[in-house]
């Protein structure tokens, strides 16, 4: 059911994300937009986003231990990292991804 948004590029150095959303809930919509923006800004050529709509695949969220929506999981590069929230605090996101925060300025 999940939708894959692939920016193509370098399979080895690619950033792979999975985002769990609750349909068109405001926080979910914002999170997806913020994730796009961050990806475009920081790794425009090498990212991949898988979108899981929990409303459509509710049992999958339980199985994958997703508690809240929106939740973003950075799958690659390792280690896996979970970020919850609508990603409006970009600094937190960058820190979680291990990116230098200076770049935002």
């Amino acid at each position: 059911m999940s939708e894959v948004i692939d920016a193509g590029g370098h399979p080895n150095g690619a950033y792979v994300f999975r985002i769990y959303l609750a349909g068109g809930a405001p926080n979910s919509v914002r999170a997806l937009a913020n994730l796009y923006a961050i990806c475009r800004r920081h790794f425009p050529e090498s990212h991949r986003i898988e979108v899981v709509d929990v409303l459509k695949e509710p049992l999958r969220a339980l199985a994958e231990a997703i508690l809240v929506t929106p939740t973003v999981v950075k799958i690659s590069p390792a280690p896996e990292q979970q970020i919850i929230g609508n990603l409006s605090e970009e600094e937190e996101v960058l820190r979680a991804l291990g990116l230098p925060q200076k770049e935002i300025q």
């Binding site: 914002r30 929990v54 339980l62 979970q82 919850i84 609508n86 409006s88």
Partner: protein, 551 residues
């Protein structure tokens, strides 16, 4: 609104905990939200889990437990300690969701419960769940750092429960045990249909748990705080509201274990009543309790002897010195003796323990020695309530119960008990010491014996290696003779009887008169009847007081 409609609105599901159903007038509101609030370690998780488990065991109700604070596996493992077969229950009826946020999760911006609720909704319909627990939801919501957002999510949860027709239990921590201190969750009790506050208080170094129903929409409930314990089988709520069938009063008489005392009581105690024996230290309370129990065992009745702070073996050894042999009854299982350390638990826990022991042993006679030990733990009010409930527990079970109570006051004439149980006791025996001419002698008197005649005289209580006896007191020159003086007087009377036929005739005359007087009890018609009755109404206290002054 028709009664039927009202009943439909008020539909309840049993919590499976007798006392909890008592205080909520039947249990949780079906298809509504119940809130359990309390400080850390108050027993919220155990209570919520127990409600699920008992629903699953007795009605096969499928249910979901969402654990936000503790690891779900650990919650389930802890539950096994209460004897609940979690693996089996999880196979059939219960589903645990581990909603413990991992420590390495980063939070960026607002989130909501929409996804979680969608997932739980799917799971609930898949397994046909009717009950769902959100344990420590505050842990997750506090990550929002926004009181308004927290309220919004709680409201979302509340709506979701209503929409799915689920009975919800939400537990949340509050600080200081006061609902008002939780500003953030101040509105939670308003939102919920039923709110219960759990507290834990320490009085005199002993901690006791209580719960109180803050509100219950559309239903009557007990307003008072009620004690509860977390025992080996889970939560037990000590509600005094329980309606129990009034036991049929017995007319059968049973022996006190002391023949002379039975005579004073006009044939012993009524079965199913309760007896209080008060006295200061060393007056013989335990020995009389032992005699009562031993007599019951000889009648082949199951018995229970609970002693606070005295080793059972010591009691058996001590009673053997007055020719009371409990050992064979202990060996046969007819008698069960339990020795309890008073300070090991709160008075409420002691109550629950006694209740369990009564259920296990199914005794016809119980002795609790001394019940006043309860006053030492958990504060006076709680102990008083417990002592009272113990008495009612025995009465409702049709058990004849003997309680001893230590009098510690300096005034030996102050005939009250620290637990104020004397008013609800059916029979009350008072033991004391009388000091006379360098002797300390034990004295016994009956203060009351409901529904029965009884002797109004004080007797000397004598323990010897042949058993327990009571001797009549001799009144001579305004004082009561006890011990050596009494024996001398008895000897003198015996001598004079042999020598003077006239004296004998006089005694017979007195006896005939006595028999003719219906106000006098059978005890007083005893052939060993005293010769002079002039000073018998004079209380022994007056005598001891006088002696004290003369010394």
């Amino acid at each position: 609104m028709s009664d039927k409609k009202r009943a439909a609105l008020l539909e309840k599901i049993s919590s499976g905990i007798e006392g909890f159903d008592d205080i909520t007038a039947g249990g949780l509101p079906r298809r509504h939200t119940t809130l359990l609030m309390g400080g850390p370690g108050c027993g919220k998780t155990v209570l919520a889990l127990q409600i699920l488990v008992s629903g699953a065991i007795s009605h096969g109700t499928p249910a979901i437990f969402v654990a936000f604070e503790e690891n779900a596996r650990r919650v389930s493992a802890n539950a096994q300690a209460f004897g609940w077969d979690m693996p089996e229950l999880e196979k059939k009826h219960l589903f645990f969701v581990d909603a413990c946020m991992r420590a390495d999760v980063v939070k960026s911006g607002a989130f909501d419960l929409t996804g979680l609720l969608a997932a739980l909704g799917a799971k609930a319909s898949e397994m046909g769940a009717q009950l769902i627990v959100f344990d420590a939801i505050d842990v997750l919501l506090s990550l929002l750092h926004d009181p308004a957002a927290e309220c919004r999510e709680l409201f979302r949860l509340h709506e979701w429960l209503a929409e799915h027709g689920l009975t919800g239990i939400i537990t949340t921590k509050i600080e200081d045990g006061k609902a008002g201190t939780a500003q953030r969750y101040g509105f939670m009790p308003f939102m919920a249909d039923c709110a219960v506050l759990l507290t834990q208080r320490t009085t005199d170094r002993v901690t006791a748990r209580t719960m109180r129903v803050l509100k219950y929409r559309g239903s009557p409930h007990v307003l008072n705080e009620v004690p509860f314990v977390i025992g080996p089988t889970g939560v037990e709520v000590g509600s005094s509201n329980g309606v129990h069938p009034e036991p049929q009063p017995f007319t059968e008489r049973i022996s006190s274990g002391v023949e002379a005392l039975d005579a004073m009581l006009c044939d012993g105690f009524y079965r199913g009543t309760n007896i209080l024996i008060t006295g200061s230290s060393g007056t013989g309370k335990t020995t009389l309790a032992g005699a009562f129990i031993e007599a019951a065992c000889r009648r082949d009745e199951r018995t229970l002897f609970i002693s606070f702070d005295e080793n059972s073996r010591d009691i058996v050894r001590d009673l053997a010195t007055v020719n009371l042999d409990l050992a064979p009854h202990l060996a046969s299982g007819l008698l069960r003796m339990e020795s309890v350390r008073t300070e090991s638990a709160s008075s409420e826990e002691h109550f629950m323990r006694v209740k369990r022991l009564i259920t296990e042993q199914q005794p016809r006679c119980v002795a609790i020695d001394p019940i006043s030990a309860l006053a030492r733990v958990g504060g006076g009010l709680a102990a008083r309530a417990v002592a009272e409930r113990l008495i009612y527990l025995c009465r409702n079970a049709g058990v004849t119960a003997l309680f001893t109570s230590l009098l510690e006051g300096i005034d030996p004439h102050l005939e009250t008990t620290s637990l104020h149980v004397s008013t609800i006791s059916d029979s009350w025996l008072q033991l004391s010491y009388a000091l006379l001419d360098g002797e300390r002698n034990r004295a016994l008197s009956i203060i009351k014996s409901r529904g029965s005649k009884h002797s109004n005289q004080q007797r000397e209580l004598i323990f010897s290696d042949t058993g327990i006896t009571l001797a009549e007191l001799y009144a001579a020159g305004g004082t009561m003779l006890m011990g050596t003086l009494r024996m001398e007087k008895e000897k003198a009377v015996e001598t004079s009887r042999n020598h003077h036929e006239i004296d004998q005739e006089q005694r017979e005359t007195v006896q005939t008169m006595t028999e003719g007087d219906p106000r006098l009890s059978a005890a007083e018609r005893d052939p060993r009847k005293r010769t002079g009755g002039t000073a018998k109404k004079k209380p022994a206290s007056a005598k001891t007081g006088k002696l004290g002054k003369s010394k």
